[in-house]
Subunit: 260 residues, 2 copies
Amino acid sequence: MTLSLDQFNLVYNSLSLAVAAMGAAFVYFLLARQSVHEKYRLAVTISALVVLVAFYHYMRIFDSWNHAFVYDPATMSYTSGVPGTLPFNEGYRYVDWLITVPLLLTELVLVLKLSKDVTKSLLTRLIIAAIAMIVLGYPGEVSPVTEKLFEFGPRGIWGILSTIPFLYILYVLFTELTKSLDRQPEAVKNRVFWLRIIVLATWGFYPIAYIVPMVISDPATAEVIRQVGYSLADILAKPAFGIVVVGIAMIKSEEEKAAA
Amino acid sequence: MTLSLDQFNLVYNSLSLAVAAMGAAFVYFLLARQSVHEKYRLAVTISALVVLVAFYHYMRIFDSWNHAFVYDPATMSYTSGVPGTLPFNEGYRYVDWLITVPLLLTELVLVLKLSKDVTKSLLTRLIIAAIAMIVLGYPGEVSPVTEKLFEFGPRGIWGILSTIPFLYILYVLFTELTKSLDRQPEAVKNRVFWLRIIVLATWGFYPIAYIVPMVISDPATAEVIRQVGYSLADILAKPAFGIVVVGIAMIKSEEEKAAA
């Protein structure tokens, strides 16, 4: 695959943006956790761990991207799959999600401080569904892109299997979780609304990125859209999501203080 | 040895998963130790040290794995043992275990806060047995795989010698430790049950990985099973084990608070 200098750099700079965003978010969450009531500290700690793990993976993805291409100054373009390059490792993203997606769902549930039974039941089901979603997506992701959309080769079939737990997660977040929100203050409800919008908007991008190589015939364009899209979605899904979680933890900490 | 791209990447991504898991666990244990009563802090500190040591070793193992193979873009495969490669250093794992296995047993005993005499007696015997287990396993691990199972060459004989202290450790954990648990609350007993299951399930994998090259004739498949298996076993045996230890420390800290 050959990318123009601009195409290569768009991905390169998006990956670097993600490294910077994850690293800065890690330090912010570490500091913010000291300002929240100890009841809500674990949720903020988990936000910090999520962006730390993502920081590590974006460092690796960035290196892998650079080793996957050779630059030709004559044509000002980058080429992969030729001697002197290594294959780009898409696996990092799946390893990252395997750790971070269950943790993101955990921080969302923990910061609400629902009853112990509800927390346990929500977490068990959400974590199992999250792991199923990612494990089922991976074989499809690494299958060669030989099929178009709706041809139902391995890429399509694994994709559909992986979508089932994804829909289940959305169902739990948008119906069951809503029932548990009755006793939360208005400001918290409002923020939970935004957390769910982030989940819908950013997680919703992942299936699109997965489908992109099946609908866009130019592999270079498809790859650029995928990599830039994944990176921006991750920045929303992890640091931005965590910032809203910290906001909820702050509001609820004020309440604790007022009640004490 | 030649590995397909998928085989190589499965090991590569498992090693990277272990790096990320150990690093995130280190930060979590450092933060969690602030939240437990000082009586239980040493056990959580040791959990942090275990995953820090393992983080370092997985960085090294990851690098060693990458330097042990050369990629050929034409056949999309990785080959070891050819000019330009270095031998893969299996020794890192043994050095890691030499430090981390005695520490894991120490954190398990310390978090229970048994009487001083019982603690001392358990620790002395468990640590000596752990060191014997690892030191006796290493010469067998580095012996060339020329024998099949039950042929009793050097690999088999060292393996058997190493199994004796392993069985002794299980004996101590499943009988003597049980006697000391009488006065522990139900929630703690329940967690100690899980700690022992983790020890049995994960440490039980190491002899299997040791035997794999003697029973699976395809060296590439055997190597992939070994490396992925070791990595997953280490993630359970160190971060997951440590999370249960933190759970015990939290429960016992609550008790201290209630009693005060």
